[in-house]
Symmetry: C2
Subunit: 354 residues, 2 copies
DNA sequence: CTCGCGTGCTAAAACGTACTAGCAGAGATC
DNA sequence: GATCTCTGCTAGTACGTTTTAGCACGCGAG
């Protein structure tokens, strides 16, 4: 079943040279070390003929670098986010010749340590540490022992690691601006209270997003109203909050939902109350969950850039790894923070107001 | 930044024994090879004190086994399916001390070969080859060269590999039976035609599922009606098919949608036509997509067991790997096919008919 | 006293690659 | 003819394990 792999010495033998010569040729260091062109050709030809592929395990043992990365996330819950991030990470890695080990902790710190150990045992060149849940957190020791990039995490203590994050503040601004500029005046938040200090439970993300919203509404001289905050950002909560907002008979122009699932619940409440979207009420949201485009009318939302985040974090990690730990002399200010935009998906749920 | 790992010889030195002795002790082969209890204790103590962890790369080079698996899928499209499968795979692997490399091909055969090569270069012990798209396909050569388990794939040529698949036929039966037993008579299929030979485009899966449905409807003496087949199983298609079904004014008791996204479209068409679910029309579906429970009324559906599939395939792979290629004497009939059920998620979209 | 045997351990080779140090031979120089 | 330099290559070691073959020692038996 398992055909034996061809080794370097077999190639060397076939080409009539020593293993070291073959190694030099195939590593592209032949010119530097004066191997004749004919010998080079013989080696390359032999390698091709035998279908030689270098054994990465062996090379890893020798050089210490395995061209392998780890991706550890906590997410089990909001699976699509995690899935897309992983996908982005894998793509970026692949493009630069790396493979990635994927691990999930479900938020369990012990499991996280075990996973990082298991990856370290396999000599990964570095890891991406990602989260979908708690955005501010302390870091495992392992993060200090190997090249690490934080994805969607704001570390509590250490400040030295490269971080890749969605630009929540800007997204909040953009969403509010979209509504303000289309003439909406009676804007209600769905999912968070009006006070950024208590924006919980999605901590930093929600808080930053809210601050962005507030800064724009303030500038526009608009009062801030919240339909109420929710512990879970799920459709039933969106439904409940929107229903009671409507029951209170306060004037409403637009709903600014803090994610698509809340928006889905809001849709249901609006529709069951006989209100039309966007003619009576506009709805804008965040995430661009798959179903956002399938709602009727299609939901206008700011896409959470999972894939881009995964890709970027991995690219940063590879940069870090390949730069080597020697060039530390702060060429990049260690602890750089990269913010990625949440692009607008303009669909049908926002109307122009007179 | 990077603290040096402790090696076996350091442990040995600390314990005052030879490296080979330390190896035997830590590998648990001490008793078999008569190492004194005191020496064993010294080794273990030293290992603990120094925080020794065996280098898996080195061990992999020596033994050929890296306790590493590969998971290669084609899916980019229906991401949640893939995500959950991967998650299941990772869990199962983790539980038995394996790590997994994840790769995605997007259906590109060349990329698939490259990924399998890259994994093979890293000496994975085996791979799970999964698909979300085309269920019947030919296999890359690499599959013959290392232990391989097929996930959601029915191979075209070779018949020898272990396969793990959802039990589509049974799910079709279950869905049809659910509707028949609750008294529905005017059942319409949404997404596929009534002829299993043309069940495309989801080939085997849809065909098997349809055959299951038909077998039950036939037994119940019910005529088979289809609202029409769709090239894409997405909400707009579900909406379109259901709308034209209703426009044709044929009597309809229940809709049997071939996935949740079609069902979502069907919901929209029914609601916009002023029909109530389930009072006027029952709806049943397949997949249990996250939004299924958030639709109003919550959708009754048969859950596609992605996670279980991933887990099972990985468990089978590890069994295969650990059994070794030597014990081939067909203890398990090579090419076993494991079918996993699609469990019913009974919610609110099906009513009892008089 | 010698032999044989059991006990407790170790030396050494192997896995496949990377890379340093250096060797052999040809030609050039004096 | 001896020395030097340059070209073209190779021997050998290291990476950190696993594993086989076998060594040294002490003790009991003959």
């Amino acid at each position: 079943m398992v055909r034996k792999r061809v080794t370097l010495s077999q190639v060397a033998q076939e080409a009539g040279v020593a293993a070291s010569t073959a190694s030099l040729v195939l590593a592209g260091r032949a010119d530097a070390l004066r191997i004749s062109v004919t010998a080079q050709e013989r080696v390359r030809e032999a390698a091709r003929r035998l279908g030689y592929r270098p054994n990465a395990v062996s090379a890893g043992l020798r050089t210490g670098s395995t061209r392998t990365l780890g991706f550890v996330s906590d997410s089990v819950a909001s699976s699509q986010l995690a899935g897309e991030m992983i996908r982005g990470s894998i793509e970026a890695a692949r493009a630069r010749g790396y493979m990635v080990f994927v691990g999930e902790t479900g938020g369990d710190a012990q499991l996280e340590r075990d996973l990082l150990d298991a990856m370290s045992d396999r000599q990964v060149d570095g890891v991406v540490l990602a989260t979908m849940l708690t955005h501010a957190r302390s870091l495992p020791d392992a993060a200090a022992r190997m090249p690490t990039v934080l994805l969607n995490i704001e570390p509590l203590g250490d400040d030295q690691l490269v971080r890749v994050l969605p630009d929540e503040f800007r997204a909040g601004q953009d969403a509010a601006r979209l509504l303000v500029e289309t003439g909406h005046r009676r804007i209600h938040l769905v999912g968070v209270g009006a006070d950024p200090a208590h924006a919980h439970p999605f901590a930093l993300a929600a808080e930053q997003r809210l601050r962005g919203v507030l800064s724009v509404l303030d500038d526009a001289g608009l009062a801030v109203s919240s339909a109420g905050s929710a512990a879970q950002w799920l459709p039933p909560e969106g439904f409940r909050l929107t229903s009671s907002l409507l029951a209170a008979r306060r004037p409403v122009d637009a709903l600014l939902c803090f994610n698509d699932r809340l928006a889905m619940g809001a849709y249901q409440a609006l529709q069951e109350a006989g209100l039309r979207i966007p003619d009576d009420v506009s709805v804008v949201s965040f995430d661009d969950t798959p179903f956002a485009r399938w709602l009727r009318p299609a939901l206008t939302t700011f896409a959470f850039p999972q894939r881009a985040l995964g890709r970027r974090a991995t690219d940063e990690l590879i940069d870090l790894v390949e730069r080597g730990p020697d060039s530390e002399p702060e060429s990049p200010p260690a602890g750089a923070r990269h913010l990625l935009p949440l692009p607008l998906r303009l669909r049908e749920s926002v109307a122009e107001r007179a």
